[in-house]
């Protein structure tokens, strides 16, 4: 027996990695699919794979401060009597009261109002707090119709018809009951504490031809005043955008797979819907083919994190972007100062995503009054406003460097890509070359 035989280094499988092994064990134990919040977590081609060119001998930058770089955007110019005017091209995406605490919704309203932008209700209806604290409020019209009523419809500044969202295009199914508190139950007309089964389709229309009739009804009820947005997940962005326009949308919202959700099946989040970067050019192309670019506005969401992302999305043709996950982080979600509590929950700061359990130590994705008390809506609102301001300044800095007096003048030709995938998706050349994969026959 020779004890000097060297052993090979223990090697884990890339296919059966730690996460996969733990998931198989969990499934075998519980017999139910894994449910979590947030958006796609795996590495995907994204805005980081794009770079701006900036100023050069042929292109001259604008001076900061003195030489203005505009950031305002008007949404809903197509049909609405009262389009929405925002100071910045960044809005707060739909997140429900129910998935978020009342304090969190109030904080979002405070922050957005300070920054001159809008918030959006979610799958649970409009609360008085949110309408009170948010100067511009978009009211979501979802398959569930929880809390939907004509009075709130008329109080809204815009209506967002949700066909799908990036985390779960075609989603429905079942969510667990821990967060259906008294107030949530009352707003949604559900018994307290039970699992909530969500519909995946609207109850009274299917298809863009019938959606058109539904939009007409919503406009009749609201005297044709409010812009109507149509929100889709990143499924078939070209056709979806074209059909949204044909149905009569004022604004199209395209949400890529990095877009978050309160809770859905993990497999849905990671394996259905396209990355945000892959959705933008097709959506813009559809608008251009219909002669509607800038006439029907495009809002892009799903993994927008900083001013560079904002600038890149606008350069690719979007009119504005929307943030969800990032807004919650600005409020205090997944903050390291709560690490001890995250450890108790079996996770760590930055990884916590079991929001459906309602035990969020930050008091944001919970209905527990003790936890929710931890969030100060004024302070958190201030933080959100700061973050929005930084993103705006960053986008302006980039735009000025590219010689633009308005962020909307950013264009694809201001960009290059670092990878072949990003070049193909964004339809901009690979850096150092004139190659756009898929164009001109190669």
């Amino acid at each position: 027996m020779d004890t000097n035989i060297p052993r090979t280094t223990p090697r884990k499988s890339a296919t059966f990695d730690d996460y996969t092994l733990s998931e198989i064990r969990r499934a075998a134990t519980t017999g139910i699919y894994d449910i979590r919040g947030a958006g796609a977590k795996r590495k995907l081609p994204h805005f980081d794979d794009l770079l701006f060119l900036g100023a050069s001998i042929s292109r001259y930058p604008l001076e900061g401060y003195r030489e203005k770089c505009g950031t305002n955007v008007v949404l809903g110019t197509r049909f609405a009597k009262k389009p929405i005017e925002l100071k910045i091209p960044i809005t707060i995406a739909g997140m429900s009261f129910g998935s978020l605490s009342a304090e969190a919704k109030e904080a979002l309203g405070n922050g957005a109002t300070l920054a001159g932008t809008s918030t959006t209700t979610g799958d649970g209806g409009m609360t008085q707090e949110e309408r009170g604290h948010s100067k511009t409020l978009v009211y979501q019209y979802l398959p569930s119709r929880y809390g939907m009523n004509p009075d709130d419809l008329r109080k809204a500044d815009a209506i967002e018809v949700v066909v799908g969202q990036g985390a779960k295009p075609g989603g429905g199914g079942m969510l667990l009951g821990q967060k259906i508190s008294d107030r949530v139950a009352q707003m949604r007309c559900l018994p307290k504490g039970i699992d909530q089964r969500s519909a995946c389709r609207h109850p009274d229309w299917t298809g863009p031809d019938d959606l058109e009739i539904k939009l007409h009804e919503l406009r009749e009820i609201t005297n044709w005043e409010k812009p109507i947005y149509i929100k889709v997940g990143g499924a078939r962005p070209y056709y979806d955008t074209a059909l949204a326009v044909k149905s009569g949308a004022d604004v199209v919202v395209v949400d890529g797979m990095q877009g978050g959700t309160a809770a859905t099946q993990e497999v849905f989040i990671e394996h259905v819907g396209q990355p945000t970067l892959a959705c933008i050019r097709p959506a813009v192309q559809a608008l251009q083919d219909l002669g509607m670019h800038r006439k029907v506005q495009l809002i892009v969401s799903g993994g927008i994190r900083n001013g560079a992302d904002v600038a890149k999305a606008l350069a690719l043709g979007a009119d504005a972007v929307s943030i969800g996950t990032a807004a919650l982080v600005a409020l205090g979600d997944n903050d390291p100062h709560l690490e001890e509590e995250y450890q108790k929950l079996g996770t760590t700061a930055g990884a916590y995503d079991d929001w459906h359990e309602g035990r969020d130590p930050a008091g944001i994705t919970t209905q527990d009054p003790e936890l929710a008390k931890r969030l100060d809506p004024k302070l958190a609102g201030r933080r959100l406003a700061n973050y929005l301001k930084v993103m705006t300044l960053e986008a302006q800095t980039i735009a000025r460097a590219c010689g633009k007096n308005h962020v909307h003048n950013l264009e694809p030709e201001d960009l290059v890509a670092l990878t072949v995938e990003a070049a193909a998706m964004a339809q901009v050349p690979l850096a150092g070359t004139s190659w756009i994969p898929g164009k001109n026959g190669y």
């Binding site: 569930s144 419809l153 009951g177 039970i194 699992d195």
Partner: protein, 227 residues
């Protein structure tokens, strides 16, 4: 009674007139002529008025109704009285699919048949159907009542929450978590009241009651087939 010609005024014209009425208006009785199957007629009303529609209505007639009484002297298209909050909508003829969808309150009376998805996702509305209802009726019905004098199609009350269903005729099949339940004096009395309000004659004792088995309220792996 004030007559208004939809062919002349258009849907926008008709709805603007009705929406601009103050809540204490004296103009309380309206007749809409020549509806021509147009959509969204008398939607979004919010006043104690009566609006009669002299003919067939298209989609979403009486949508999101509050307080008003809307009477369709003919058939109604998909989504009649969808998301109604209060008031009454009556259909003399048949209603198409998704009648009373997501309704929160009020009473919807359909003298003829309603098609599929009658009362889908209902949240407190009461619906009385003189004829039969199609498949997937009372799908995800949360609260409220559905009374059917005729038959019910496949998957009645699939994924039902706390709504109560009363059917006199045959039920082709029951949906996930929907079962037949006992009729007590309390239920018979309630049913009698609905029939009365709907001005439809029938004997409550001829009906059977259906509702949630409540097995899907909290996940259990053994019921995974139902999802």
């Amino acid at each position: 009674m004030i007559e208004i010609d939809l062919e002349k005024e258009g849907v926008r014209g008709v709805n603007s007139r009705l929406h601009s009425l103050p809540k204490d208006t004296n103009e309380r009785h309206w007749l809409v002529k020549n509806p021509m199957g147009q959509h969204a007629i008398a939607c979004g009303l919010d006043a104690p008025i009566t609006v009669e529609i002299a003919g067939h209505a298209g989609f979403y007639c009486g949508g999101m109704n509050k307080q008003a009484e809307v009477i369709v002297h003919g058939h109604a298209g998909p989504g009649v009285a969808e998301n109604m909050m209060s008031g009454i909508v009556r259909v003399d003829g048949n209603a198409s699919q998704s009648a009373g969808a997501t309704g929160n309150g009020g009473l919807l009376v359909i003298k003829g048949d309603a098609a599929s998805r009658c009362g889908i996702s209902m949240k407190g509305i009461d619906i009385v159907v003189g004829g039969s209802v199609g498949h997937m009726s009372a799908f995800m019905a949360q609260r409220g009542h559905l009374v059917v004098l005729g038959d019910a199609g496949e998957a009645l009350g699939d994924s039902i929450y706390e709504a109560r269903l009363y059917v006199r005729g045959k039920v082709t099949s029951l949906g996930a978590d929907c079962i037949e339940k006992q009729m007590t004096e309390h239920h018979l009395a309630k049913l009698a009241r609905f029939l009365d309000q709907a001005e439809i004659k029938a004997n409550p004792h001829d009906f059977r009651r259906y509702g949630s088995a409540r097995k899907l309220y909290n996940f259990n792996i053994d019921h995974a087939d139902a999802y």
